[in-house]
């Protein structure tokens, strides 16, 4: 089994899985606690539309998908702030628009549907060095922004108290949604559009079951998100099943365990 990880593509897969798992569960803590679980799904589909656009324009899909998804994330946040529609509705609208746009773009050109489908379900074993570099940069950025956790947590606990203490809550909301979009886009290649939300939500939900404090929840979510990658990858390699599915099912198993063992 160990020799499998001497293969460069397996090493890249493992590293990508760890980075994406860690990033998604870190932000997932805020997503879950703010009841924005649907946001992961919405942005994944925005990423999909971006990828379709990139393929149509014959560009590297990532470079098109990143600005596209970040733009949609900012728009969702803007609509949320401007109206009383509710988060799920604002997200749902852009979710639908993105899917419609993605399908339309795919239909415009014959021949690249298989590429686009690969993004729907992800293919962790085809992660390129460029993909890894982008993930690494994003992880670095998140590390640099780690001091902001305390403000994000405060506004998540009670938005009004945070505002009363002069926290620029709105600016933080925009920043957070842009970061979530970035993480979702770089994860699409690894887990696929349909499973991204699981990466964001399940480790955080599991962590909440076993944590007394928000700090503990954050740390455990990152641990769960990264630790479930290895067994998932091994299962994928030995049983020849899609890695994204195997990892998500591992996460779900941990969730079930936490639910059962919780005091």
């Amino acid at each position: 089994m160990l020799e499998a990880f001497q293969l460069p593509f397996m090493q890249r897969a493992l590293l990508a899985g760890l980075l994406v798992g860690g990033l998604a569960s870190y932000l997932g803590v805020l997503v879950v606690q703010r009841r924005l679980s649907f946001l992961g799904d919405g942005l994944a589909h925005a990423a999909f539309a971006g990828v379709a656009l990139g393929l149509l324009l014959r560009q590297e899909p990532l470079w098109v998908a990143i600005p596209f998804a970040v733009g949609i994330a900012l728009l969702i946040t803007w609509v949320r702030e401007q109206s009383s529609l509710g988060d799920d509705t604002a997200i749902g609208i852009f979710f639908a628009v993105s899917v419609a746009l993605g399908v339309l773009l795919i239909s415009l050109r014959q021949g690249f549907a298989p590429d686009a489908v690969a993004y729907l379900f992800g293919s962790i074993l085809t992660v390129t060095p460029t993909d890894l570099q982008v993930m690494g940069l994003l992880a670095l950025l998140m590390l640099l922004l780690a001091p902001l956790w305390r403000y994000w947590a405060y506004a998540t606990f009670d938005r009004e108290l945070a505002l009363a203490d002069r926290l620029p809550v709105l600016r933080h909301d925009y920043l957070l949604s842009a970061l979530i979009a970035l993480v979702v886009v770089v994860s699409v290649k690894v887990v696929g559009v349909v499973l991204i939300a699981a990466f964001v939500v399940i480790p955080a939900a599991t962590a909440r079951l076993i944590s007394q404090t928000f700090a503990a929840m954050t740390v455990s979510a990152i641990l769960i998100g990264t630790l479930s990658v290895l067994p998932g990858l091994v299962a994928a390699y030995t049983l020849d099943v899609p890695a994204g599915s195997a990892i998500v099912l591992t996460q779900a198993l941990l969730f079930g365990l936490a639910l059962a063992l919780r005091r």
Binding site: S84, Y151, F157, D158, A164, A215
Partner: protein, 256 residues
């Protein structure tokens, strides 16, 4: 002469088509204990939020329009050092699923952000103030497991730990038992004696307002009455505020 703690001049707030506050003017001298009373929807919470610089609210029913002038210790609300003001929000459908210990909530009042870890000195300060409000035993309890009254004590400790010059309390006695309410006033009066702080407190408990406050503000979108309790809590003022004065208020006022 020092600026009054709170100065409000011709202050109005409109939420869309709805006039929540109309031409409210009032001045609160430093060291006063003002009880704010009035019917539901009278704009009491809106007024406190205005003092915190939160008047713009969310765009629930169209844009919020605000006119008038507010000064807190001579500053516009948003320019008041946040450490000067302690705030206990109205109990609302707050998110009990947020994983937090009571002591973290208290420390967040000191730091003005959320603690990742709590240092020894902070722990000592938090314990001290929790003790003062009779909630030391709650320090390491999960927030989600606290009763309504316990929660109010923790929030009060949270607002006191920064030793504010101005305390804004939105129905802090809600859900607190009779002993707890007596305690609450005792803590507030002790804190006020110690720091010379100014207190603005929204309450529906007229009797307590009458006994403890140095002034009462009767609010119903506009100022119906403002002054010493015995002057303001008269029959006419109350019927003007509420349309009619129910039996309960007659009982409250009956003794005078």
């Amino acid at each position: 002469m020092a600026a009054p703690a709170v100065e409000i001049e011709q202050y109005s707030v409109r939420f869309g088509e709805f006039q929540a506050l109309q031409e409210v003017s009032l001045e609160v001298p430093e060291g006063a204990f003002v009880a704010i009373v009035g019917p539901n929807g009278a704009g009491k919470s809106t007024l406190l939020k205005a003092l915190l610089g939160l008047e713009r609210g969310s765009m629930r029913d169209g844009p919020t329009r605000v006119v008038g002038r507010i000064r807190v210790f001579g500053h516009p609300p948003r320019e008041v050092p946040p450490g000067w003001v302690g705030y206990v929000p109205q109990v609302k459908g707050f998110d009990r699923s947020f994983p937090a210990l009571a002591i973290e909530v208290v420390v967040s009042g000191l730091r003005r952000h959320w603690p990742f870890r709590i240092g020894r000195e902070e722990r000592r300060q938090a314990a001290e103030v929790l003790e003062k409000v009779g909630a030391l035993h709650l320090a390491n309890r999960r927030l989600g497991g606290l009763s309504g009254g316990e929660l109010q004590r923790v929030y009060l400790a949270r607002s006191l730990i920064r030793q504010p010059r101005l305390l804004l309390l939105d129905e802090p006695a809600t859900g607190v038992d009779v002993v707890g309410e007596a305690d609450l006033y005792r803590h507030l009066e002790a804190y006020q004696a110690e720091r010379g702080a100014t207190i603005l407190m929204i309450t529906h408990d007229w009797e307590a307002a009458q006994h403890h406050a140095s002034a009462v503000l009767v609010l119903n979108r506009r100022v119906v009455g403002y002054g010493p309790p015995e002057k303001v809590l008269c029959h006419e003022c109350l019927s003007q505020a509420f349309g009619h004065v129910g039996h309960a208020h007659q009982v409250v006022l009956g003794g005078r």
